[in-house]
């Protein structure tokens, strides 16, 4: 067995809180907000707090321990910051290849492109719509992250003017896209402090681009389309040149190039996470907008469709930053949600506490609903009841984390459980009526619920977004 194979068998670094604790100042000062240093060490291992939250550790005398801990906690994929201030975006910082091994950090950043030949009103409206993109989803606001400015003119002055216009109109971090170092320099001069991601250094221009990256302190993309040897050579050279923050672009190809695209992303991430290959340990950039390249006579809707699913596949297969051209809600929303899903912490439980939830100030005539204790079911229903501004009771039935339809199908949501929950919550002492509104998807067990509980069942809407309308039309105590 070679050294490489041995290393790859180790997989994710097994880090114990004890290893971390040994290096902490052990003052138990609670300045970090934890009970003691051991508790802090546990949170460090779970990545719930950062070393910088321990003030004593940052003192001069602990510098060595701090550095050791830093090294110990170093992710397999380097974390890189693009932009400055509130809107700065962190990309990379991955600890593992598969999310079940731990969790993924730093959701794939999505950039929308503009060009230096776009009419000004179009440029501004694209920036505005990128900033405005916002979707409320289970307590999160899904947003877009960056603007990619492409030089289609190849004219340094035009690029400079465009970048200037962009930074005047948005705080979103930028990706400056040009393979011409003179054009790149002009762009950087218009945004000298913005710390944009510079795209890209390739086998021809790497030296000039590296100089620019060092001069402006910005991260630099190394680009070698479908050539991983060249990509690693570029990374190695840039690193030796002094560029620390590198992003890797192995090329994105639609259609017949799809297999190579996924293979390159997958191999790079595996090399970084499983083989400890340092040069592969940088964030990966995907460019779904290549779907627009062979557009031909194809209708725009179809191109957007292709770009969207290419983006989705890259979100699943390790892209840390994406550049997209199609800026439509219908094509971006699935990917915004997918990204949130894939980057959700898999260690988190899926169920909420069963029991009685109260909305507003219900009285003895207020409606009574029930739902399951699967977290997203509960939060969705709860937010819809809140939106209805109705005073109401919601019984959360313990379905072991099943949603309504799968609960009914899998016998996790039964009439017995509903009847028991009605008893257990003491709702009978809180309302005078005996009517329970059940989820439309549980209508199959409505008869049994009436039999077992003695309550009259009103079958509610199939989707809880209809609750406000339902209450107006159908609810009588």
């Amino acid at each position: 067995m070679t050294e490489r194979e041995k290393k790859s068998k180790v997989g994710i670094k097994e880090l114990s809180p004890i290893d971390v604790y040994k290096l902490l100042p052990k003052t138990n000062c609670k300045e970090c907000g934890q009970e003691n240093c051991m508790a802090f060490a546990t949170k460090i291992v779970n990545r719930e707090v950062t070393l910088e939250q321990c003030p004593p550790l940052l003192k001069k005398e602990n510098e060595k321990a701090y550095k050791q801990l830093k090294e110990m906690l170093k992710p397999a994929v380097k974390e890189i910051v693009v932009g400055t201030g509130d809107k700065a975006v962190k990309i990379g910082g991955k600890l593992v290849m598969y999310r079940h091994e731990f969790t993924y950090f730093n959701p794939t950043a999505i950039a929308i492109d503009v060009t230096d030949e776009m009419p000004e009103d179009e440029l501004l409206s694209r920036i505005k719509s990128t900033e405005k993109f916002s979707y409320e989803y289970i307590g999160y606001t899904l947003k877009l992250d960056m603007i990619a400015v492409r030089s289609t003119s190849g004219d340094p002055e035009k690029f400079k003017a465009t970048v200037k216009k962009v930074v005047e109109n948005t705080n979103l971090p930028l990706i400056l896209c040009t393979l011409n170092s003179n054009v790149a320099e002009a762009g950087l001069m218009a945004a000298p402090k913005a710390k944009p991601l510079l795209y890209a250094a390739n086998m021809d221009n790497w030296k000039d681009m590296a100089e620019l990256a060092l001069m402006y302190g910005c991260p630099l993309v190394a680009s070698a389309p479908n050539d991983l040897d060249m990509l690693m050579s570029l990374a190695k050279t840039l690193q030796a040149y002094g560029v620390e923050d590198i992003v890797l672009d192995p090329g994105t190809f639609a259609n017949e190039g799809l297999a190579d695209t996924l293979n390159n992303f997958t191999m790079l991430r595996r090399a970084a996470c499983k083989a400890g290959e340092e040069l592969a340990g940088f964030p990966l950039m995907g460019v779904p907008m290549v779907a627009w390249m062979d557009k031909g006579e194809t209708a725009e809707e179809i191109v957007k469709w292709r770009e969207a699913y290419l983006a989705g596949m890259l979100i699943v297969r390790y892209a840390d930053v994406l550049v997209m051209h199609g800026a439509n809600g219908w094509s971006l929303l699935p990917n915004a949600v997918l990204r949130q899903n894939i980057y959700t912490d898999p260690r988190k439980p899926v169920a909420v506490e069963p029991g009685l939830k109260v909305f507003g100030t219900p009285d003895e005539n207020s409606p009574v609903f029930f739902t399951t204790n699967f977290a997203l079911t509960y939060y969705t229903v709860a937010s819809d009841i809140e939106n209805s501004k109705t005073n109401a009771y919601l019984i959360v039935v313990d379905t072991e984390g099943s949603a309504v339809d799968s609960g009914v199908a899998g016998r996790k949501l039964t009439a017995e459980k509903v009847a028991d929950a009605i008893k257990a919550t003491g709702i009978e002492n809180k309302v005078k009526h005996r009517k329970i509104i059940i989820p439309g998807k549980a209508s199959r067990i409505s008869g049994e619920i009436e039999e077992l509980s003695g309550w009259k069942v009103q079958v509610g809407p199939r989707d809880s977004s209809e609750i406000p309308k339902y209450l107006v039309e159908k609810w009588q105590p």
């Binding site: 289609t152 292709r306 929303l333 894939i342 439980p349 969705t380």
Partner: protein
């Protein structure tokens, strides 16, 4: 019809065929009424929000002190991280031709993988995933975006099956026997046999036989169908832990069919049910369904569950080394797939099928071998992507570099 079928087959690459374009374009003209989706066994899986993400501070890695900046590229090679796995996913044959004891025009083999999904840098894909399209044996509430494509055949499962195969390119057909539900029409096992008989006459692809979710009634109906269509290698969808597993496994084995072992999002339960089936069935007679949740409604759990199962199977866990089936149609349980939203999110006629596509492609990359799907555009895309992934064609580096400077 033959003309159209040809067109779809000819459409190479990821391009959607012209008639599909028409299909999509049409969506925008239709004013949809309020939603009325529901397929019998749609499942919603929810998750709460994630823990507040703790971002790590930027690393100040010690840069190796350079004597001087390099003047030439420092050439190195990328060591391709190739691995071997002790396990192999079982090959399962679905459908049987005349020569094999059935009446199907062809049989389809799924499984057989020896690497994670589409790690073609490591090993080629053995059997590309296949798609089976949903057909319902009675009128069911469907999302309008789906209904518009099947409205002429609702209530006529044989015609529906034919449409799915001839027009939408389905590799297989799933017959959902909703009407047998004691709480609905309570159709008899004989009625169900008649429906299946009509479908076997109408199409010659392998079939999936779907029940109504009632553990007793499903077993009775499956038994009758298994006996009547002995030798057809139907996929019986599904056998669950609360059914009479022994009885079901026996009639599946005796009549040469395949069991779909369904468990709710828990690998231990999946192992347990498979172990119970092993007493009566060969490993090559079992496909597993680990539960599919929609994008936005627990897809992360489904994805990780399937990815883990596939990796475990490859690492030698034989109880999880079965081909995987996904009820991808569940994507339509997400309200964002069908709900009329603000103008900035429209048209939902595109958003809906893209929701199904995104759900499908995510699970494709986790290792799903058999997709149970609904929308023709979603099916088309999944098939195109799969074809490209296994084509062995190479990326052309020249095609990429221009993205920076291309005027669109």
């Amino acid at each position: 019809m033959a003309e159209k079928k040809k067109k779809i087959e000819d459409a190479s690459g990821l391009s959607l065929s012209p008639d599909l374009l028409e299909l999509l374009a049409k969506f925008q003209e239709i004013e949809l009424e309020d939603f009325e989706l529901e397929v019998k066994d749609l499942e919603l899986w929810f998750e709460s929000g994630a823990l507040p993400r703790q971002l790590m501070p930027p690393l100040k890695a010690a840069t190796p002190a350079m004597k001087g900046k390099p003047t030439e590229l420092m050439m190195t090679q990328f060591a391709r991280p190739i691995e071997t796995y002790p396990g192999k996913i079982v090959e399962v044959k679905l459908g049987a031709t005349k020569g094999e004891g059935g009446t199907r025009g062809k049989s389809i083999i799924i499984g057989g993988e020896t690497s994670p999904a589409f790690y073609t840098f490591e090993r080629p894909t053995v059997h590309p995933p296949v798609v089976t399209l949903d057909v319902f044996d009675m009128e069911v509430p469907l999302s309008k975006a789906v209904k518009m494509h099947v409205k002429d055949v609702i209530g006529d499962p044989a015609a529906w099956a034919k449409l799915a195969v001839d027009k939408f390119g389905a590799d297989m057909v799933t017959v959902h026997l909703i009407s047998i539900d004691p709480l609905l029409k309570n159709a008899t096992p004989k009625d169900a046999v008649k429906t299946i008989e009509e479908i076997t006459q109408a199409v010659d692809v392998p079939l999936v036989i779907g029940g109504c979710g009632d553990p007793v009634k499903d077993a009775d109906v499956f038994a009758e169908i298994a006996e009547t269509f002995t030798g057809e290698r139907f996929l019986i969808s599904s056998i669950t832990a609360d059914m009479d597993v022994e009885r079901c496994a026996k009639f599946v084995k005796k009549n040469g069919h395949v069991a779909l072992s369904f468990t709710p999002m828990d690998l231990n339960l999946a192992r347990e049910l498979n172990r119970r089936l092993y007493d009566f069935l060969g490993k090559e007679d079992i496909v597993m369904d680990l539960t599919t949740a929609a994008l936005g409604y627990g897809l992360d759990y489904a994805f990780t569950n399937m990815e883990r199962a596939r990796l475990a199977g490859l690492m030698g866990d034989v109880e999880l080394a079965h081909p995987m089936s996904s009820g991808t149609t569940n994507a339509w349980a997400a309200r964002e797939a069908w709900l009329k939203m603000g103008a900035e999110w429209e048209p939902r006629e595109l958003r809906g099928p893209l929701w199904e596509v995104t759900t499908a492609l995510t699970l494709l990359l986790a290792g799903v071998d058999l997709f149970m799907m609904m929308h023709p555009a979603a099916v088309k895309t999944l098939k195109d992507v799969t074809a490209n992934l296994v084509s062995g064609k190479k990326a052309d580096p020249c095609k990429f570099v221009d993205w920076v400077s291309t005027k669109l």
